[in-house]
């Protein structure tokens, strides 16, 4: 029997109720932080329960916890949520990101407001991952912009206003074609079936589209998701935004919000417009490969750690896109897995960089040197995260990248071959960063750096555990996501696209 959709509604409501509580206790110092952490822990627990309950074999599509309630028929607005294998990992990632952002990157400036925005952002991204209705997805997808804008513009660095506006405008303009595309699809369906306006994913994925319409709509949807991900060449907002955002904001944006783009690509662009794939696959895969190489090259020359992470993310998003577009089931499983793994790894990176920044007040690579001597545990943690990002066998990054490359080789050999150089690129820039920051002879300032405290170590425990666990034993995760992806691949290939 299908599980009640109340579980998903709870996932959406808990952070919003949390906001009310945070605002209630805003005058007492520290109380809002305690409430925030409590809510985040509750959300994490709920997500784990939901993940544990989720039964991937319940329906052919892998959907569980589904419910649909029409809110306004003339507008086509409905509350329609469900969970399948692809959204499952994203739900877990959302909760994890919130919890670790709160625990690891506490920022005491106007804490109640900051925590409220983080909680609203959690509901918005949770909603995007759970929505089974295109309009509802769009609402939540757009809603993520508002808290992100305020997080950057209020708590960011010196260039925060410009960075926030740039981020907002890029993504807002990016979503214009998405909205138009959704409306087009909705009316296409309405004119065909002569019923009420309806944006349900199930309904719209059955709409018959011509080849041209598919390609145009794929481009409209893909543009929005490419800006959000970001995919080269739509990435230009991301380095400045990641660098200027407060640490909690950077974590949310790169670990979580970027995944909204790739999630949208997998679920909506690919799932709804399979006819477009034969035309769009080479183009998007080429962009992905360029992104991998370009991101790697830029990460080599980037001057500060946050920018290295931003460009490394660009390369990793390239891998995700490569896997998602390849049309191979294995590669797509790898892509969905990498969405989660990259999220976890990025959380680790940003937390570690924030620890360095807290001690040295800078994150420019040339000012840092020989930290290994003064902070050995920090160095070890950094090494683990770096190796996971490079894709060392036995760590989580390896599993997902291996699956992606394996699948891509089978279906689109040359893109796979060129993409594989990205793995080498990652090794080059990360090890070089490591060499410059942690090796060498430290000057007085770098020698005075304290090692990570106990609390900071504990915050990173989940990251390290997940990196190791998903590196050696990814089976449960893969089992949970496989039926949904198999269904997606079948749907895509039935529509006249070869494997």
């Amino acid at each position: 029997m299908m599980h009640s959709s109340w579980w998903l509604s709870a996932l959406l409501l808990v952070p919003m109720v949390g906001v009310a509580f945070v605002l209630l206790v805003r005058r007492r110092p520290g109380a809002s932080y305690a409430v925030g952490v409590g809510v985040a822990a509750l959300e994490m627990a709920l997500s784990i329960v939901v993940a544990w309950m989720y039964n991937q074999h319940l329906t052919r599509t892998g959907i569980d916890f589904a419910a649909r309630h029409v809110i306004s028929a003339p507008l086509g607005l409905a509350y329609d949520v469900s969970l399948d294998g692809i959204s499952l990992l994203m739900v877990l990632l959302t909760s994890l990101t919130l919890l670790l952002a709160l625990l690891g990157a506490r920022d005491k400036r106007r804490e109640p407001a900051l925590i409220s925005w983080l909680l609203i952002l959690t509901t918005a991204s949770m909603g995007s991952f759970l929505a089974h209705d295109l309009l509802l997805f769009f609402l939540f997808f757009e809603l993520t912009l508002v808290p992100s804008y305020f997080l950057i513009s209020q708590w960011g660095g010196t260039e925060r206003v410009r960075a926030a506006l740039k981020f907002f405008l890029y993504t807002f303009i990016g979503s214009v074609p998405l909205l138009i595309g959704i409306l087009f699809l909705g009316f296409k369906n309405q004119h065909y079936v002569r019923g009420a306006l309806n944006f349900s994913y199930t309904t719209l994925s059955a709409v018959h589209l011509s080849h041209t319409a598919s390609v145009v709509l794929f481009c409209a949807f893909g543009f929005a998701f490419a800006v959000k991900s970001p995919i080269w060449p739509f990435h230009t907002w991301s380095p400045i935004t990641y660098a200027e955002a407060p640490i909690a904001g950077s974590i949310e944006m790169s670990a979580l919000l970027a995944k909204l783009g790739s999630y949208g690509l997998v679920r909506f662009a690919i799932g709804l417009f399979p006819l477009a794939l034969s035309d769009m696959r080479p183009i998007v895969m080429t962009l992905a490969v360029i992104g991998i190489l370009y991101g790697s090259a830029m990460a080599c020359v980037a001057g500060d750690l946050k920018r290295v992470i931003a460009y490394s993310s660009l390369a990793q998003m390239g891998f995700i896109t490569l896997g998602a577009m390849s049309g191979s089931q294995i590669a797509m499983i790898g892509a969905v897995l990498l969405m989660f793994n990259h999220g976890v790894i990025t959380i680790g990176f940003f937390l570690l960089v924030s620890f360095i920044e807290k001690r040295r007040q800078v994150n420019t690579i040339k000012d840092l040197r020989g930290l290994q001597a003064s902070a050995p545990v920090l160095a070890v943690l950094f090494t683990i995260v770096i190796l996971a990002s490079i894709g060392l066998p036995g760590l989580s990054g390896f599993v997902s990248e291996y699956l992606i490359l394996l699948g891509s080789f089978a279906t689109n050999t040359w893109w796979g071959v060129v993409g594989a150089f990205g793995v080498v690129g990652a090794a080059i820039y990360w090890l070089w960063v490591y060499q410059r920051v942690f090796h060498g002879k430290a000057d007085a300032k770098n020698l005075a750096v304290e090692d990570v405290t106990n609390k900071e170590r504990w915050v990173l425990v989940p990251v390290v555990v997940l990196i190791l666990l998903l590196g050696v034993f990814p089976r449960p995760a893969i089992d949970k996501i496989t039926p949904s992806i198999a269904n997606l691949i079948t749907h895509v290939s039935y529509s006249g696209v070869d494997k």
Binding site: E142, L143, F172
Partner: protein
Amino acid sequence: MIKIPSVHYLAIAPVLIFFGASLALLVTSALRRSRLSATAATVFSAKCSLAVVVVAVFQWLYVSQHGASETISHAIVLDRFGSMATVAVALGTLLTILVARDWAIRTKLLGIENHILIMATSAGAIMMAVANDLVVIFLGLEILSIGLYVLVAMDRHRARSAEAALKYFLLGGLAAAVFIYGVAILYGATGTTTISTMSLFFAANYLLHPGLAYLGGALILIAFAFKVAAVPFHNWAPDVYEGAPTPITGYMAAVVKVGAFLGFIRVILSGLGTNLDTWRPLLFALIVLSTIVGASVGLTQRNVKRLLAYSSINQAGFMLLGLWAGTGRGIASTLFFVCTYVPVIIATFAIVGLVGGATDDQHDIESYRGLGRRQPWLGAALALLLLSQLGAPFTLGFFAKFSVVAAVMDAGGTTLGVITMISAAIAAAFYLRWTQILFADPEPDQARLKVPGATGFVIAFGVAVVVVFGIWPTPIMWLCQHAAISFLP
């Protein structure tokens, strides 16, 4: 001998109430020996507005039972479309009167002229929305405009106020002339001024020489474009918005739009509706220019009243989308947009008026620096109202924009949808800049703003509408849809 036509008083009751109340107030204040207190006038006007809302509800119920009808020899219609407009106007009047009262106390311009004029103007707005005759629309337009000319000049302490009024008067007079000329030409082409008859005429006849009808229609379209401040007939708006007393600016942005847009819909979609394809290119140009110019020129503004003027030009472009679509969905969505804009924009201008201070001239965007930090509730309220105008999800403004864009998409206007949404993205920049300044680090020695009760109520009302119907737009959408159904011939 003149035959006196039958009068269905329910249809004209809202106009009669507002106009009668206005006259009563005028006469009483003139005859009384002691001054009539402004408080009493406020309470009286507020009650009248509520009475109009109640009457409109009865109209709605009556039409639901008996169907739409025409009265006073086809000059006035009684339909749900009109009732909906009446409610919006009455609500806007009520909110404006509350805000204007506090404004009058702040600026020491106490008097009851405000109330008299606002109610008379509202009568004109309602008349435009329920008219079925071009001459009656003109009558409404004039009643609306003449009241406004005076209202704009109400702030005796500021020369800008009189300047704005003069500007508005000259250009408004021109627009009225253009309108009546258009009516005359259209009468020459069709032999009638009654909108429904004109619609039948166009449906039943094929015009071999349609030039005259086109010219008349185009002139009327221009006059309406002037009234709703659509580009390129928008030049008066920023100056007048800036010069007018702030509550009156809010009133203009809200109630005048209701009257003008709903009258516009009747003329263009009912009267000239059979030839909609003729008017579409004109509407297309108006929409594209209004949205793009409104959004991009708004970026350069530092005075918030001018900024909101350009914002409302941008919004007017969106409201025109439903007219371009011309379908039931289009009418419903424009109605939705216009009606929901009323509380939002009046509440926004209520806050602007508060920040404007006793002289009502502190409207530089820098006066808002840190306001949201000193007074979180006020700041959050303004931020929400601005986000709604931006069209952020889960605010009323999103569904307003969504419904009009959906309507044009439904009617095949993908290009328009894309252009207007991009303009919304451009406009987002100035709303966001404002909210950013709102929550920036405050100047150290700024005094807290006092929020008087009535203004506070209006702001709270606007915010409540934005939030509640932003999550649950169903009731308003339902009303608009039913209003549009009963309207279409």
